[in-house]
């Protein structure tokens, strides 16, 4: 096995395109486990951390749009320490910060969590709800892809040969908007989501929801986007939250396994949808005050 540290995106693409059995390394918290357990035996490791921008969190304001760009090798701990990002996207950051232990947080990345394509990745639903765009670089140039289009099945992504993700873009929101992510696990820390739910919403000056999006994790082969129109036009009163919960329960297509039954997971999807919406609503109101 070779170890390569490209300095540019083009060099990384060339290395990945030249060797289809090469693997990208950023945080390594999944890659090294698979490597050591013999699940994969790549011919080369391509460490992208030395490429400019991979470890940066920046605020972008271009004709194509304004928002936050998070490099593919930014650790989840670094996201949690970035006051501007935490203020702008508390739900995305709280999802990212739920992955693993303090030690894992120091290395793991949202992009790794996404490209791992596990159905229960904690950082993924809030990215979906945020309408994040994933920047993919490859031999045919660069493309921006909705989060939902990256995973296709457990462990499988839509990335093609020579491609890798360079960053996540979170579009800027109005001031009176916010998000939240909640997961259910049977313990308090260090576990895989039985259900995860993110809600992202925008309010008008009167506190009425003008736009909302919702995403569920761990209740299907990949992350789901769920219609959140039930709370649009409301002030997140009980009746509209009940309707949102019903939409989440209806949309969830979980499996029965040792961590939860189908009925339990569908029910919890609704409970988390309500709670996440309430938190996002409170945050959005606070942000507009």
């Amino acid at each position: 096995m070779k170890f390569q540290s490209p300095q540019t995106v083009d060099d990384a693409i060339a290395m990945l395109a030249a060797d289809t059995n090469a693997r990208v390394l950023a945080g390594g918290t999944d890659l090294l486990v698979r490597l050591r357990s013999g699940h994969i035996s790549p011919s080369a490791i391509v460490d992208i951390k030395h490429i400019s921008g991979m470890r940066d969190i920046t605020q972008e304001d271009t004709p194509e749009g304004s928002g936050w760009r998070i490099g593919a090798a930014v650790s989840c701990a670094e996201m949690g320490e970035h006051a501007g990002l935490v203020a702008a996207y508390p739900g995305v950051v709280e999802g990212a910060e739920l992955i693993g232990s303090t030690q894992v947080q120091g290395r793991c990345t949202m992009v790794g969590n996404l490209c791992n394509a596990g159905p229960a990745g904690d950082s993924v639903p809030a990215m979906v709800a945020a309408g994040a765009l994933i920047r993919v670089a490859g031999p045919n140039g660069t493309r921006d892809v909705p989060v939902l289009d990256i995973p296709v099945a457990p462990g499988k992504t839509s990335l093609t040969e020579g491609e890798f993700v360079t960053s996540v873009f979170l579009p800027a929101r109005p001031d009176n908007a916010s998000d939240a992510y909640l997961r259910f696990i049977p313990r308090t820390e260090m576990d895989i989501a039985v259900v995860g739910c993110a809600v992202n919403l925008t309010l008008d000056a009167q506190g009425t929801v003008t736009a909302a999006s919702m995403s569920l994790g761990a209740v299907g082969p990949k992350v789901k986007q769920v219609d959140a129109s039930a709370i649009v036009g409301s002030t997140c009163d009980d009746a509209s939250l009940d309707a949102l919960a019903a939409a989440a329960t209806e949309a969830a297509t979980p499996i029965d396994d040792k961590r939860g039954t189908i009925a339990f997971r569908k029910d919890v999807s609704g409970v988390l949808a309500k709670r996440a919406a309430k938190i996002a609503y409170t945050r959005a109101k606070g942000a507009s005050a």
Partner: protein, 159 residues
């Protein structure tokens, strides 16, 4: 294939070594540099017994490749005491019997020291969350948490 030559800093000393691409930082520390304080418990990032700091960031050295340490700063349990003078956490772990078999202890000390540098006055809950990735199979958690909290109070008093 020729081995990879890595230049790094370990506990303040410039160090260079040769490693294979698949060698973890933990392999290098223990088997090449003879720094056997960091332990291999799970080799999958679950137990925290191999905790070290890389550029000041707490990580599991079993989840870092040796080759990645090029140009970085690595701190291990061996750098915690100053000569014969133990760090207050080390003293309190001994005095308060916060260890049984001792395999988890180096990782917990490295992690706890990092916590107290970031937050000199942590709550019990904050200590428990911070150390959630450090497993103790003797399950002596209460004494560990109390030793960390007592050390924090002592160090604040001394400051």
């Amino acid at each position: 294939m020729s081995r990879i030559h890595v230049n790094t800093t370990v506990n303040g000393d410039a160090v260079d070594y040769l490693c294979e691409a698949e060698d973890t930082l933990l392999d290098v520390l223990r088997d090449t540099l003879d720094l056997t304080g960091s332990k291999e418990g799970c080799a999958s990032g679950d137990c925290g017994a191999c905790s070290v700091l890389v550029d000041g960031r707490l990580v599991c050295s079993c989840l870092v490749l040796g080759a990645e340490a090029e140009g970085r700063t690595v701190e291990t349990i061996e750098g915690m005491a100053e000569g014969d003078t133990l760090h207050p956490l080390q003293k309190n772990f001994i005095n308060k019997a916060a260890l049984q078999c001792g395999i988890c202890t180096p990782g917990i000390l490295v992690a706890a020291k990092n916590l107290l540098e970031k937050n000199p006055d942590p709550s019990e809950e904050e200590v428990r969350y911070w150390l959630a990735g450090n497993l103790c199979r003797c399950t002596g958690y209460d004494k560990i948490i109390r030793a960390v909290l007592d050390t924090a109070a002592e160090m604040r008093g001394a400051a």
